[in-house]
Amino acid sequence: MSFKLFFLLLKAAGWTLSISLVSILLGFALAIGLSAVLLSSKRLYRAPAELFISFFRGVPLLVQLLFIYNLLPFIGLNVPSVVAAIIGLTLCTAAYQAENLRGGFESVPRGLIEAADMAGFSVRQIFLRIKVPIAMRLTFPALVNEAIMILKSSSLVSVVGIVEVTKMAQDLASSTYLPIELFSSAALIYLVICWSIALIGRYTERALPGGVK
């Protein structure tokens, strides 16, 4: 396999990376809102968020992508397929990340919150200075895992016609008859990206306060 083909795959990896990154960040923002609703004491508020999470965690991403890709034109939104792909990945990852965040906020030790209350912290201060940092610290490993999951899942956006690594390998394989080399190279690219994310995650985790030095 020539270097030129590998270079084309690497270029397509830019799409994989950017779609994954945008989806994870948007998903995180959405997950913050969702987890806030999930932690509400009113069942009426919690129920829709729980339904959303159950749906997006219970349906294959491929089916979600097909649904969103076909739904958007149906409701009169003619957007490029990249947008549909990002919406699909974002909603899916938001459901997982919201569940992580809820777990994180629930495992902030009660004693710490009571101590802060005693020390005269306001509700807002307790939230910003006690709950958020501890919950973020606790959910960081899960966030790294989710980033890796989304990176791998982004291979599915090839079904809505985006030429990222998998689709590029598929297209090149059908024209060059080198499927083994091309799909192995695609796998290698994914491996390197996944391992890099895991490595960066581990270092960041150690650098965070309260980490294992």
Binding site: G58, P60, Q64, F74, S158, A173, P179, W195
Partner: protein, 222 residues
């Protein structure tokens, strides 16, 4: 969006058949995957350091690459390496190997969670290695590996939808075809989502029941 129940009724036999293929592939892939994964985990634990490292390589590769790429490699690359497989055998093999990699990690964590003293005590009492696995490790780790196993089962069911891309005649393939044929693609995909959702919720519920039963057993055991 008008949901016509007659369309569903008309295609009910196909939908049931597609669901059957999905369930069969899922359960078979999972069963073989658990067996292979257990074999890998025990070999890594008892086979010495070199075996452990050598077996870690395929496990890490399988866990670090998308399932879709693995399927493409086997399905389109296979014939070039003398391995021509139809969609169903290819799907089953890929699902098995993929799940084995993940299950081996679940079992490895399960082994590690059993207190070392228990294993040492069993060794002192003269239990053989097979006896230790069967009577100490397996029962003690059952409750630990059950939740991640159920989680993994759900993930595998969802991954099995990807097999539709290589035209395995499972649920996603069947229902998308019906949707295109009836000019009701959106409705069809919605129905598809609901069916998957129902299977996932049912298996999660089964997992919770199994967990509850297993934990009472653990407390009542002497």
């Amino acid at each position: 969006m008008i949901f016509d129940p007659n369309v569903i009724l008309k295609h009910l036999p196909e939908i049931i058949q597609g669901t059957g293929v999905t369930l069969a592939l899922w359960i078979a892939g999972m069963a073989f995957g658990i067996a292979l994964g257990f074999l890998v985990a025990t070999t890594r634990r008892y086979g010495g350091k070199a075996t452990n490292v050598v077996l870690a390589i395929p496990v890490e590769i399988l866990r670090g690459t998308p399932f879709l790429v693995q399927i493409f490699l086997v399905y389109y690359g296979g014939p070039f390496a003398g391995l021509s497989l139809g969609p169903i055998p290819c799907g089953l093999i890929c699902l098995t190997v993929y799940s084995a990699a993940y299950y081996s990690e679940v079992f490895r964590a399960g082994f590690a969670a059993v207190p070392h003293g228990h294993v040492e005590a069993a060794e002192c009492l003269g239990l053989s290695r097979v006896q230790i696995i069967r009577r100490i490790l397996l029962p003690e780790m059952a409750l630990i590996v059950l939740p991640p196993s159920v989680n993994l089962a759900v993930i595998l069911l969802k991954e099995s939808a990807v097999l539709s891309i290589i035209t395995v005649p499972e649920l996603t393939t069947t229902i998308s075809a019906i949707g295109s044929q009836e000019y009701a693609f959106l409705e069809a995909i919605f129905l598809l989502a609901v069916i998957y959702w129902a299977i996932v919720e049912a298996s999660a519920k089964l997992g919770r029941i199994a967990e509850a039963r297993l934990s009472t057993f653990r407390f009542s055991a002497p």
